[in-house]
Every structure is written in C-alpha cells, then in structure tokens.
C-alpha cells in the first residue's frame, strides 16, 4: 500500500494526485475494516462481541490464529493477485473489458483440476489408495497452477507469441472452449469429478492456511516489484503500439512479459481459491473510475482494490447464511454483476 501511495505521489497533476491519495486512503481503510470483519466472522456470523469472547476463550489461537486470520489474509492476497492480473490484462489488450481469465488460464486450470479429480476417482481402483492420496495432496493446487500456465502457453503458441492482440484474444477463446470441452467430456466419463469441479469453478476461500499464504504473498510481492520496473513501458503501450515502437520499446518482448506476469498472478490465485469471478475485471474498473493514473498506480491500486473486494466477498460468503457458507465466487459474481448493471445504467443515462 505504501507503494501505491508513493506511486500516487509521483504523478504530476494536482487534482489527480489528490484523488489518488483519497482512493489509497479509502482502500487502506477498507482493507483494515475488511480484515477486522474477516476476523469477526465465524461460524456464528459476523459479531464483534463474539470475536471479543473468542479472543478471551481457550481457542483464540486456533479459531482466530489458524482459521480466520489466514483465511481473511488469503482472500486479500488472492484478490490482490486477481486485481493486478486484471489491470495488466486491460493494459495489454487496451480494453476495459479484458479479464485475466481470457488467455486460457481459467479453462486450463479447470482442466487440470478435473484431470486430477478423475484420476483420484478412478485411482481408487487403478493407483491404489496411497497413489490416490498422493495425487490428492499434491493434486488440486498444483494441477490448477500447471493447468493455468499450460493454458496460457497453448494460447501463446496458437497466437504465435503475444504480438497481435486479436490473434491472442482468439487463441485464448479457442483454448478456453477446447479445454472446457475436454473437461466436460472427462466429467461425463467420470461423473464423480463433477462436484469437485463445480466447487473449483465457484471458487472458495474456505481452506486457505498459512502455508498457502507464504506462497501467495511471495508471488504478489515479486509481481508488484516486476510491474514497478515495467510501469513506464506499460504507459507507453497505452499510447498505441506505433508510438510505443517509435519510443524504442521491444514490443513483442514486452507483451510476452506482460502475458507471463498476468498468467503467473492468475495461476497463483486460481490454484489456491478456484475460479473466483469478476474481481479481475471489476477492480481495475473501479480504480480507473475513482482515480485514473499511470500504470504503476493503476496496477498497485487494482491489487489493493481486488484485495478489498475479495475480503468483503469472503466475509459476506461466511456471514450471510452462517454457519453454512456460500461459494465466494458466487458472491463476487453477484457483486460484480450488480456493479456492471449500475455502470450500464449510468452510461445509458448520459
């Protein structure tokens, strides 16, 4: 967040700077409040009094320290990665409707998960229990990560690199459709995989623990640092590819790098939390509306916005029907969809 503030401070225009300051402050507050709500939302719903009682109780370390804290922080990190990936995707495609899942990563991750689920189901017979348990452990997270990267890799190879926006987009659609079809075929053959697949498609923050957080945080910090280095090149890219090329940028390399960064962020996020919908699309939108700015700011603020959104969604998913819970992706989809409807109405009114 301090990085976002620093980047905001670097912008020349006074009014814009103030807006960015305000947004940064608002995001910090939202994250703090969201974090508190996350800690206060247990299986009895959201209650500060219950949080206080839990903190005094014998299970404080277990309930707050080992369950709610990593879960809330994990939601923030996953949301941040998705926001970051969304901002990069929208910069890369120069299209505000671009989404980090466009490049085949979502479908690839889904296919990876279904393959592992099917193997584990059939594995009871084929692999024996030890093998099935091994797959289960290494399984879903690793498979989603590898699947997402493989999906993007396939997209890149179909598009022969990242040089052409339209090719890239089309290749992403093709990979998405094909991987989706293959995973559907597998679930028809091994219906036991269906429920696990559904859980993955809907997204979940239920089982985020400290080990996963280390991975997510490392990835986020590394990617933010990388984005910081290439922020100016990204700004140049938004001027149009000709201008960027005339500024002496190695466009194909830059675009490839962008694709790799955004897919790494997406793969990391979806491997831990499934296909959480809409955060990557909406977070950069909200930032651009509230306080537009150069890409360094945009990416960092989108990450913070994504974090705040997913923390909020996670709290709602736990609190609305406690002690049951809604899949967090359903909550983000409803929130994101409502936002887009509102946006449409605004545009229509003008």
């Amino acid at each position: 967040m301090s990085r976002a503030l620093a980047l905001a401070g670097a912008a020349p225009d006074g009014a814009d700077t103030r807006r960015r300051h305000r947004l940064a402050l608002g995001l910090v507050l939202a994250l703090l409040l969201g974090g508190l709500a996350g800690l206060a939302t247990g299986s009895d719903g959201l209650s500060l009094r219950a949080l206080w009682a839990d903190l005094q109780g014998p299970d404080a370390a277990l309930l707050i320290g080992h369950i709610r804290a990593p879960r809330t922080l994990g939601a923030a990190l996953v949301g941040a990665l998705l926001g970051l990936a969304g901002a990069l995707a929208q910069g890369l495609f120069r299209n505000p409707l671009a989404d980090p899942y466009l490049l085949g990563s979502a479908a690839g991750a889904g296919l990876g998960v279904v393959l592992v689920l099917a193997a584990a189901s059939a594995g009871g017979v084929v692999l024996g229990l030890a093998g099935a348990a091994w797959i289960e452990r290494l399984g879903l997270v690793g498979a989603a990560f590898v699947g997402a990267l493989a999906g993007v890799g396939l997209t890149l190879s179909l598009a022969r690199g990242a040089a052409h926006t339209l090719r890239l987009l089309l290749a992403g659609v093709v990979v998405g459709v094909m991987a989706g079809a293959v995973s559907d075929l597998i679930t028809v053959a091994v219906p036991e995989a269906l429920r696990g697949k559904q859980a993955f498609l809907l997204g979940s923050t239920s089982f985020l623990g400290w080990p996963a957080l280390g991975l997510l945080a490392t990835g986020l910090v590394a990617l933010l640092a990388l984005v910081g280095r290439f922020a100016r090149a990204l700004d140049a890219l938004t001027l149009g590819e000709d201008s960027a090329a005339s500024l002496g940028l190695d466009l194909p390399r830059l675009r490839l790098l962008l694709v790799l960064m955004l897919s790494a962020a997406t793969a990391l996020a979806v491997s831990q939390a499934g296909l959480v919908a809409f955060v990557g699309l909406v977070a950069p939108h909200l930032v651009r509306r509230a306080a537009p700015g150069p890409h360094g700011w945009l990416v960092a603020a989108s990450a913070a916005m994504g974090a705040a959104l997913l923390v909020l969604a996670d709290v709602l998913s736990r609190a609305l029907v406690a002690p049951q819970e809604l899949p967090v992706g359903v909550v983000t989809a409803v929130l994101g969809g409502a936002y887009l409807v509102w946006l449409l109405k605004q545009r229509g009114a003008r």
């Binding site: 299986s43 277990l62 369950i67 009871g124 452990r137 028809v188 859980a199 089982f207 049951q324 819970e325």
Partner: protein, 293 residues
C-alpha cells in the same frame, strides 16, 4: 451377502409366479396416479437406488435398461446404459419399449418421455421413510405387494444388528460425516444422519441446517466431533485443513474412511441401507477394539 443373494433369487422365482395380470395403480410423489394394465414386465430405472430396489424386490430380471450410475447388483452391468437423469438417452429408452420408467425428481428428460407416451414413476428417496415407502409402492406396482414389507423388515433387522454391535464406549459420541466435493456435511436430517442416529451417534450437524449443508469449516472445528466419517481417499487431506488438527477425531485417529464401494453404498438411499449401517458398525467396532477413550 451370499445368503442375501439366494433370498433374492428365491424372491425372483416367487415374483414371476405372483405377478398377476391385474391392473395396478400407484400414486407417485407428485400425487399423480400411475395406472398400468398389468404389472410392468419391462422396467427402465434411471436411478441407482431404484435399480437396487427393483432387484431387492425380486424383479431384477424385469429391468431392461438402467442409468450410467447403477452398478448393483452386478447383473445390471449387462444391461443397456441410458445416460443419467440429466442426459437420458430418450431414443434408446423409447426403443426399449419399457412398461414403466422409474426416476426421481423432475428432469427435462422425464417430461419428454411422458410426452412420448411412456409411463414415468417419480419417487423421491430422501429419508429412511422414503426408502420404505418407495419399496412398498414399487412392490405393489410389481404385483408382489408383500415383498415391500419383507425387504424393509430385512433392512430393519440389519439396522438393529448394526446398532447392537456399536461398542458401548462409542455410543452417544459426536460424529461428523462429510460428503466430498463441497465439502458438504451429512446433517441429522439426511438419510445418512438417520442411520447415524439409529446407531446411537450424535450428529455434529443439527437437523435445522438441512440435510446436506455446505458448512463454514470453522463450524466443524468448533463442534469438536469425536468421530469423522467419509470417503477414505478424501481423509488424508483433512488434517491439512487450517485448524483441523484440533478436531478430537483427527487428533486421536477416530476416523471411518470408506472405500469407493462402501462410500457409494452409504450415500445411496436404497435397499442396502442396512448394509451401510453394518459398514459403519464394522468401523466402530474396529475403533472400539483399538481402545476408544
């Protein structure tokens, strides 16, 4: 198991003779009457529990096609596979010229089959009482009305036997039964919950949460179940869940993990309900022998 199968064969022979050529009429779960000129001789079942019920009622030989999930008794492996409830192969079913199609709740396929003139019987099986009611209803439909109560009496005997085998030290213990994929819990109001209650266990998931709620995992940690049950292949991952090391059942190794076939049997509300209870009792006896604290 073998004895069971012999009685099935005996029942089959009986049923053949007893299937009177009188019209039969039953009310399905929507309250709609289904009237057939004579007990059906060609039956399609689109639900594994109904396939099993028909077989248990001694009419397995009258099955001419089943859904893709039906896998018991082993004889059904030889029958045509007709897809699932959601993607039933209409043409293949019609071609089989069944006298009746057995299925559960509503699905588009069923409306289509009815529109094509096939009698469809819709039966829900959400509880022990549903299983009993379905068995009675199917028995009447099959023209062997006495069979329904006979099969249910056997299930009852199996349940009672399983109940008696539960070690005293484990009676009244708090149990959490997990279904994979969500994960979902088998609550007290589910048919699995009914079996657990019959065995004298207390469900960690109260009835008011519904039969199969998708719970906040924290709920389970707080409930501190002393027994955890579910599919064996999913149990290795339980301990890795944040905070679950504190669950007494996991800490003390009081787990009932069922293999593929056993788990399938447990989550199927059909005539093998009693066998499912026996499986749980087997596990509880093992745990009891290991010295349950």
């Amino acid at each position: 198991m073998r004895r069971w199968f012999c009685s099935l064969l005996a029942g089959l022979a009986l049923a053949g003779g007893a299937a009177l050529a009188q019209p039969v009429e039953v009310l399905d779960d929507r309250g709609q009457a289904l009237r057939l000129e004579r007990p059906p001789q060609r039956i399609v079942s689109l639900l594994p529990s109904l396939t099993e019920s028909v077989a248990a009622l001694g009419a397995g030989a009258r099955l001419v096609g089943v859904d893709r999930y039906s896998n018991w008794p082993p004889e059904v492996a030889a029958l045509p596979r007709l897809g699932g409830l959601d993607d039933a192969q209409i043409e293949a079913i019609v071609r089989l010229k069944p006298d009746v199609v057995l299925a559960s709740s509503s699905a588009r396929a069923l409306d289509r089959l009815e529109a094509l003139g096939l009698p469809v019987l819709r039966l829900k099986s959400d509880s022990h009482a549903d299983v009993r009611r379905s068995l009675r209803l199917l028995a009447r439909l099959l023209g062997t009305p006495a069979e329904g109560e006979r099969v249910w009496a056997r299930i009852e005997a199996q349940l009672a036997d399983a109940q008696a085998r539960v070690p005293v030290a484990l009676r009244g213990r708090l149990v959490y039964f997990e279904l994979g994929g969500g994960p979902y819990a088998a609550g007290a109001s589910s048919f699995i919950g009914e079996t657990l209650a019959r065995l004298g266990l207390v469900n960690a998931v109260p009835a008011e949460l519904g039969p199969f709620p998708k719970l906040n995992p924290e709920f389970v940690v707080r409930a501190r179940p002393e027994l955890v049950m579910g599919a064996q292949r999913e149990q290795a991952a339980l301990r890795a869940r944040p905070g679950w090391q504190a669950v007494p059942a996991l800490r003390e190794g009081r787990l009932c993990g069922f293999d593929e076939a056993g788990y399938e049997l447990l989550i199927r509300p059909g005539p093998r309900l009693g066998e499912g209870a026996a499986l749980i009792a087997d596990c509880l006896q093992r745990l009891g022998a290991g010295g349950a604290r």
